[in-house]
Symmetry: C2
Subunit: 214 residues, 2 copies
Amino acid sequence: MRGKRQHRTEPRAATVARRASVLRAALDCFTHSGIEGTTIGDIQRAARCSVGSLYHHFGSKEGIAEELFIEGIGRFNRGMLRRLRRCQGAEESVKAVVRFYCDWSTRNRALASYLHSRDIDFSESARVRLKAVYRDYITQVFVWFGPFVAGGEMRALPPDAYVPLISGPIQEYVRRWLSGHYERPPGAMKELFADAAWKAVRADHQSSSKGVKT
Amino acid sequence: MRGKRQHRTEPRAATVARRASVLRAALDCFTHSGIEGTTIGDIQRAARCSVGSLYHHFGSKEGIAEELFIEGIGRFNRGMLRRLRRCQGAEESVKAVVRFYCDWSTRNRALASYLHSRDIDFSESARVRLKAVYRDYITQVFVWFGPFVAGGEMRALPPDAYVPLISGPIQEYVRRWLSGHYERPPGAMKELFADAAWKAVRADHQSSSKGVKT
DNA sequence: TGTTTACTAGAACCATATTCTAGTAGATTG
DNA sequence: CAATCTACTAGAATATGGTTCTAGTAAACA
């Protein structure tokens, strides 16, 4: 009775559950043995489903990996935007980006690690989807930050410079922490990187105009 | 009966040539079709050698990937240290790190792309080797920068903070450029990121020492 | 009720990573 | 020099595991 529109029909409850359970299982396996290291059989066993089911839903092993990746990015992006929209001024917003990155990666360690592990090596179609997801996200982010730049609170820079300047350092720290090079959890460095981020993009007017915030 | 040096013998010229040609071929293939996408046959054909030869030298496909990765990192590290040692003061050194990262990645685009693509997903032994390589490198780097911190030209920070602060942004920019998200080649942003890096780690000797804000 | 279709199952299939056996050629030794 | 040793090469044989195929089941719908 719901959308009887042409082919467009809601997926069954069982379907979304199965897809989710496969992705969960896949993440476990990938985390444990890497993508190449896990076999379809491993995922099958962990998700308690058949080969046919896997291929029906995802088409291939790479399809599973891509879906997991894209969905993970989506989750991260939505969380970031939610957090951002609760912020007040430019400084708070910039610092929130760093803090959220840090918190999210710590809370979703396995997924964060997976998202860091690759970016390349996907099919063309996945590449395209990913790019679209990123473009949507970055557009929203720029809508949020635009006024701060226009209002002179933040430096005016080439658009592509902001993300690297603000989240480059925390991202690099988290990456190294996740792959075991650094001991200290990123939470310990959060404020340091948040301050650095703000320092990198704030407009510096030598004639100090206080810096009052609400 | 024993050789002059037990097992330690110089590899033949033909051997090093063969290894090099395999790695070159593998990089081509990986760049073109990704690691999973290239078969042993592809590499074999590109390097004009037999399966046996491949397995004799590298043990497995993953062995080839690891070797390429580790050797690539080594090349980068040696280049960076060479560049660093031609610098004079703290500011020049910090900026040189950013500039070298940018230049090297642009000059060795395929290899840089490969080095960005993964870090995880290797065998335990490769992980260990990689860590050792990194530790040696970072030790040298700290030997170089130590005096600048001691001399008060650079901020004193937790050791693990320097790399992310200095090279995080350029690295992130290059990564996105390599995977096609950004159009402008990193050279265009080099000085911007170099300045930012210096701003992030220089000791600020102004009156900002009295907490300006909350 | 019957029909349709989203989904599941697992055996069969096949591409390909890896192993195995049999070498060759350049160095080393007597 | 001959004998031998060892690093290296070759390609057929094997094993693993990703993918396809056929035959279903059960929920939605008429």
